[in-house]
Amino acid sequence: MSDMTASLGAARASTHRRRRSSAVVLLLALAATGVLWTAFAPRGTAQSTPDANEAVRQGRALYLQGCSSCHGLNAQGTGQAPSLIGVGAAAVDFQVSTGRMPLAAPGAQAKRKDPVYSQTQIDQLAAYVDSLGGGPKQAVVTRNALDDADLAQGGELYRANCAQCHQAVGAGAPLTYGKYAPDLSKATPSQIIEAMRTGPESMPVFGPGQIDDASAVAIAKYVRFVTEAPSAGGSTLGKYGPVPEGLLAWLAGIGGLLAVCMWIGARQKV
């Protein structure tokens, strides 16, 4: 049982006594998410140990092999890609663990995909970039922090700061000229917090001066809740609100009832 599962499960258990089968599906989904983030949650504390230098060295090797062609041999940036000096370990962890880096193809925006590097490698890369100059550290989301986070506060902060781009339930939305605010259904709590702290691509930065760590965890908890919570009223229709609703009203409602009309009006052949 992962941390995530426990905390979300506890939060919901008091309201929803859910049907077992749906609970199983949910638990599996949560467990997968939880495993993903617990795998790298303890990271970020390794900086001062003797291993840290080793991690930096290996990270640099990985960097030279996979990243330097765009970001430059010393991460100073090139015409193609920005400098990585000072972006911090959080940016590396976010970009690489969400598969956005290395970039698959140039476009308006990097797309989320399966990560190319293992979490160990990501940590090494992060350690290397961190060694180039400060910046936000990798996010650490402990089980207790998630348990203690206030879901309602997370919701209020989400609506005030995130919903305008990522949509009320994290389904994502378009920005100008092909850019978009991504769907949050796959984002882990640490990725959510790292995105807030580093402001990847079009996203503004939400630093700790604005949203403290506890509030950031609350937002992450809320995002996980709205993207994973069982829907109360049947199929969510993609969570996009009135557009798919209208489409279904026309296709199923009007389409289905017109078919019924034709059946009623059809001449009976016995």
Binding site: R18, L175, P204, Q210, I264, K269, V270
Partner: protein, 381 residues
């Protein structure tokens, strides 16, 4: 069945047209004699079928050569029984649905995920069962015949029209309205004035006059910029590339001379004061002439209310410094004084001049916006 009949009866009819005549044919298998007694329903057997207007039917004899009448009736009866069982099945489905609805309603856990889908499905079965049942009943078990009804023109005869018109004319003459202009004019006048009275309840809908209200927000000189939780914002809280939605906290001087800041966070106050505070990298801002000192340390503040239709403009793209309105997709360029650069909005977002107070908190340096915020209106200059 019907195909056989066609084959036997329509030698001059091409085979592929069989379906047309299937439909056209009276339904000889309705077997109403078997069903419950219906008042006035004619027998539907072979002889009555001849009455139809179809000219391509064969003589009864020919038909009976293909299918013996007794056998046909037996088939009819079986088909009817099948249809009846089908209708009954759907009625039973409805009963099951109704029971399901009642049971789910009272026994089900209304917080469970299954609750609403089960309720809907059960209700759908309850309604749909009766629906399918009765329609099948009408289609399969009621006589297939069409009634012919005459239509009548709606127009009345000339004499009737003349009489009616004359009735009205005579009655109108009796009122004397044509002869008495004073009466006519005062009556029309009274009626018009009375009609105008309808406006009164309409105007009573509010005691608040538009006046200058739309031209001002709740920002005052020295008001602190506070976030949605009422906490004041100071330099350094927002990272470069960050945004914060802020509201005014107006200074209130207490009796002892100390100053307290009161956040204006009611819906009404938020609605015209909501402001977006953006921190740009040093040197990025290109202030408009006369607004050179409206920003502070890379921080700029603009009204968050779209100048088009009033939605909160808040999709900020940190790289392009564009603000996008999610309602109608107007785009504002933050670096260029929030000029409207795409979409239906035509005016820039109003800018709020900001500075910091002695405690380091952001304040509205000069007071309110210098122009009305939000969507335009007739009285706006």
């Amino acid at each position: 069945m019907s195909k056989q009949e066609d084959g036997t009866t329509g030698p001059d009819v091409p085979a592929e047209s069989g379906s047309i005549f299937d439909r056209a044919k009276p339904e000889p298998r309705q077997g109403h004699d078997d069903g419950p007694e219906r008042l006035g329903t004619p027998p539907h057997q072979t002889d009555s079928a001849r009455e139809g207007s179809t000219v391509l039917l064969a003589e009864p004899g020919e038909r009976s050569a293909a299918v013996p009448p007794a056998h046909a009736e037996e088939i009819d009866r079986r088909a009817e029984r099948r249809a009846e069982r089908l209708v009954a099945f759907w009625f039973m489905v409805s009963i099951v649905g109704t029971i399901g609805f009642v049971v789910t309603n009272f026994v089900g856990d209304k917080h469970a995920e299954y609750y609403t889908p089960c309720m809907g499905t059960a209700l759908g079965l309850a309604m749909g069962g009766i629906g399918f049942g009765v329609i099948l009943w009408a289609k399969r078990l009621m006589p297939h015949e069409e009634a012919v009804q005459e239509r009548h023109p709606f127009a009345s005869s000339d004499a009737e029209i003349a009489a009616t018109e004359e009735t009205v004319a005579l009655g109108f003459a009796d009122t004397g309205l044509a002869r008495r202009p004073l009466l006519r004019r005062t009556m029309l006048g009274a009626g018009t004035v009375l009609g105008a009275l309808l406006v009164v309840p309409l105007l009573n809908l509010t005691n608040r006059k538009p006046g200058a209200q739309l031209k001002h927000s709740h920002w005052v000189k020295g008001a602190r910029l506070v976030n949605g939780e009422g906490n004041p914002v100071r330099v350094g809280d927002i990272a470069i590339g960050g945004i914060e939605t802020v509201f005014p906290a107006v200074p209130v001087t207490e009796a002892d001379g100390s100053v307290r800041f009161e956040p204006q966070l009611s819906l009404h106050e938020k609605a015209d004061s909501v402001t977006i505070l953006i921190r740009l990298a040093p040197g990025e801002n290109r202030p408009r002439p006369g607004r050179e000192n409206w920003a502070y340390d890379g921080h700029v503040a603009y009204s968050k209310i779209c100048t088009h239709a009033g939605c909160p403009v808040s999709l900020y793209e940190a790289q392009t410094h564009h603000l996008l309105c999610p309602c109608h997709q107007s785009v504002f360029n933050v670096l260029d004084g929030c000029r409207a650069i795409f979409g239906p909005a035509s005016r820039s977002l109003p800018q709020l001049a900001i500075g910091i107070d002695d405690d380091g908190y952001f304040i509205a340096r000069d007071g309110d916006y210098t122009e009305p915020v939000g969507p335009a209106f007739w009285e706006r200059p």
